[in-house]
Amino acid sequence: MSSTETLKFECETGNYHTFCPISCVAWLYQKISDSFFLVIGTKTCGYFLQNALGVMIFAEPRYAMAELEEGDISAQLHDFDELKRLCFQIHQDRNPSVIVWIGTCTTEIIKMDLEGMAPKIEQMIGCPIIVARANGLDYAFTQGEDTVLAAMAHRCPEYLAELENHHPNLVLFGSLPNTVAEQLTRELASQGINVSGWLPESRYEELPQLGPGVFVCGVNPFLSRTATTLMRRRKCQLIGAPFPIGPDGTRAWIEKICQVFNIQPHLENLDQRENSIWESLEPYISLIKGRSVFFMGDNLLEISLARFLVRCGMIVYEIGIPYMDKRFQASELSLLEKTCKQMNVSMPLIVEKPDNYNQVQRIRALQPDLVITGLAHSNPLEARGITTKWSVEFTFAQIHGFTNARDILELVTRPLRRNNHLKDLGWSELVSQIQPNR
């Protein structure tokens, strides 16, 4: 293979299956424990949330729908009064530290001025109201978190440089379970880098200080709006690094941060750490080495996961992805390219806004060993003898840092291990053309 080969990008029709970005309330209300999320939308939004979140809905969640009725759509009711009434009620019943309004497709179409109303209602009830437009017109799945964090970045207190000492101030952005955030913080601490805060913290009231002189670094690949906001509006300095997914990504992430702060990473330490993780992954890697994988694309983690899987010895045929920010993901893309060259495999095709129908045709032709896809296609593909792993799990599982690399492979290899158990039974294709008798 020629070493000049580079990544190929394509863009299809955008007719693909993904979750609506309002699903971000599911993990954000859990992360930010003193928040309340109000999704302003229709029955369709509510139905999606209630079904997609399954059991969580029964645990008195700190989120609700402001369900728009015909009167709201036809402007017979005054949105301002309606929202004021609901927010008063929420404030009274739950007393949250912040109410996050999630704007939806409908509020976009009827041009409800959420940003205009929020400050007024905020004043009246004395509780901050943040507006995030996480709608399906503009965004896919995890990008919902991006819109919320971008809106939240405006509420972070101003960084006062003179009160701090000369130590570089680093804020990490991206919502991670508290344990994982703690692990990454400690990982950097062991290199002598102090993380001064996270966006978001586990409480709204503890949002980190931002401003000129603060360095920021993302932990998830779908946070490009947040990154832009932090740079342009809060004048922070962005560290563009690969994302800490997989031991290779984590190491590159740490090294990049060290490099920016002019700190010599404890290389021995880091080498030993990465190697021991790779060693512990060996049983999993032996299962996937040389196997092929196809990402249909729905959560924007695809590039990082593909890069890690290439490093594990897999061959990636196609990386479908809803949206590709080549600037925010630049380091990740070049690490992917480098990894492909190192592992001597051909560059995968990156398909932005994929077309699921066309992808299924390609899957049929390529017969990959594993397809990473949404729940809409998993069972039908399995019935046709094609092994799948549903992509949503990668969003909810703990996949960041050295410690959690195993969890990624646990997910990736699960269908393959299952197949090993069932392989001698002889019924892997389970679609029938014959109509059964009743």
Partner: protein
């Protein structure tokens, strides 16, 4: 605006898509923003459907918002026509797209010029009707589109035959109920002409009028179509739900009268009731004596809630203190059905009102939807699930009809199990648990010389309860193997890395 956490019935387009995708070779296209195709996930996951759900979205995005759909919808229709070659394409707007007020009918007329399939626009108002009403309407719409024979040209089947209207995807035990109805009809010497829409080709719908009668097992969906066929083609329909012994008997009598059956159906009913179904005997057996006068609350869709209420009261002697439904559009019918059987009638689609009612009357058992099951969990009241909305566990693989004589057995089991569980719980409470020598801790470590640092202890508390003990054990095992005496957060992470988590 309404503050809502949960809803019993879905949005209109779900109903339309459930009908469309149940037919064979019919494709649904939604005019919807990205992410609204959640229906495909539900069908694929809940029904464990092996085939790709024949539903795609014509995506509404910023460009559509700014300039209108223009060619997009037409292109999507013609594309699906070529790819899938369906008999019919049903185009449906969603809540969001219906506000755009684009002339979808115009797109359809334009697409018709270049496609072989028929194309219909679902005629439902997304802000006025719910999932059930929309499904009912769509079924009628498709049937009236394909049934066009003139009344004087209709040739009825030689032997008595029936259509079953309203069996379809994501329905509560629909597949099992359908099989049970089929068995009953076979016993009565009646052939099935068509089951609509599940597995039915739209091209077969022209045969619909050849049947002698229509059977509508569930009130929510199919009644509009049955009424249409009665009005236009003088086809009688039977809308009794054959759920429970009494209703099944009445259903059989109606069918036999409508088809001028020559068989001794009273004898059949008697035999089935007393010996094939175990439910009649069950309610006489001494076990069931204990159920007398026990308090129950019933909530669900109109069909199931009404039928279960009647079974509990009439066939088992249980006291239903409150019967309710979320089918508000059918409230009058429901009230009339259950009024004589219960103390209170509750018609609402607000789950908190149902929850408060349960808390207030404290029934011994609840028969409701998944929501009531969870309320029951919180209040420690057992619950049998009798109606949608439902979870994947309500799509059992084994044969579990609610209708017909086998259905009565299933319901009896469900009722009995709910109550005995409740009884058992009470007895346990009175006598202080199953076994006095309960295993207090699952911790198998013998030496206690490991010290947990307070920060590590805090970290441990962050771990979800159901795995916490395992993590604790693993960490201690790891610490011991490394001869560590103190457990810090670092040790915990190291343990996770070292051991299979």
């Amino acid at each position: 605006m309404k503050l809502a956490y949960w809803m019993y019935a879905g949005p209109a387009h779900i109903g339309t898509l459930r009908v469309a995708s149940s037919f064979k070779n019919v494709h649904g296209i939604m005019h919807a923003p990205l992410g609204d195709d959640y229906f495909n996930v539900m069908r694929s996951m809940l029904e464990r459907e092996r085939d790709f759900t024949p539903v795609t979205a014509s995506i509404v995005d910023r460009y559509v918002l700014a300039r209108g759909s223009q060619e997009k919808v037409v292109e999507n229709i013609t594309r699906k026509d070529q790819e899938e070659k369906p008999d019919l394409i049903v185009l449906t707007p969603t809540c969001t797209s219906s506000i755009l007020q684009e002339d979808l009918q115009n797109f359809i007329s334009r697409a018709q010029a270049s496609t072989d399939s028929d194309i219909l626009l679902a005629d439902v108002n997304h802000y006025r009707v719910n999932e059930f009403q929309a499904a009912d309407r769509t079924l009628e719409q498709i049937i009236s589109f394909y049934v066009s024979s003139k009344p004087n040209e209709i040739v009825k089947t030689e032997k008595p035959s029936a259509n079953i209207l309203g069996i379809f995807t994501l329905g509560f035990h629909h597949q099992h109920d359908c099989r049970e109805i089929y068995r009953l009809l076979k016993d009565l010497g009646i052939e099935i002409n068509l089951v609509v829409p599940e597995g039915c080709a739209v091209t077969d719908l022209k045969k619909l009028t050849q049947a002698w009668i229509n059977i509508v097992p569930y009130r929510e969906i199919g009644l509009m179509a049955a009424k249409f066929l009665e009005k236009e083609y003088q086809m009688p329909y039977i809308s009794t739900t054959p759920m429970g012994l009494v209703e099944t008997a009445s259903w059989i009598r109606q069918i036999c009268k409508q088809t001028n059956s020559q068989m001794d159906y009273e004898k059949y009913i008697d035999y089935q009731t007393r010996f094939v179904s175990q439910a009649a005997w069950f309610s006489r057996s001494i076990d069931c004596q204990n159920l007398t006068g026990k308090k129950a609350l019933v909530f669900g869709d109109a069909t199931h809630a009404a039928a279960i209420t009647k079974i509990l009261v009439r066939e088992m002697g249980i006291n239903v203190c409150c019967a309710g439904t979320y089918c508000q559009h059918d409230g009058d019918w429901f009230r009339e059905q259950v009024q004589a059987f219960c103390d209170k009638v509750l018609i609402t689609d607000d789950h908190t009102r149902v929850g408060n009612m349960i808390a207030e009357i404290e029934p011994t058992a609840i028969f409701g939807t998944q929501m009531e099951r969870h309320v029951g969990k919180r209040l420690d009241i057992p619950c049998g699930v009798i109606s949608a909305p439902i979870h994947i566990q309500n799509f059992p693989l084994s044969y579990r009809p609610f209708l017909g004589y086998e259905g009565t057995n299933q319901i009896a089991d469900l009722v009995y199990n709910s109550f005995t569980l409740g009884m058992e719980d009470h007895l346990l409470e009175i006598f202080g648990g199953h076994d006095v020598k309960t295993v207090i801790t699952k911790n198998l470590s013998t030496d206690q010389n490991l010290i947990w640092e307070s920060s590590a202890m805090e970290e441990l508390q962050k771990i979800p309860g159901f795995v916490r003990n395992r993590i604790k054990r693993n960490t201690e095992k790891f610490a011991r193997s490394k001869k560590l005496e103190k457990i810090t957060v670092e040790v915990m992470y190291a343990a996770k890395e070292a051991l299979a988590a």
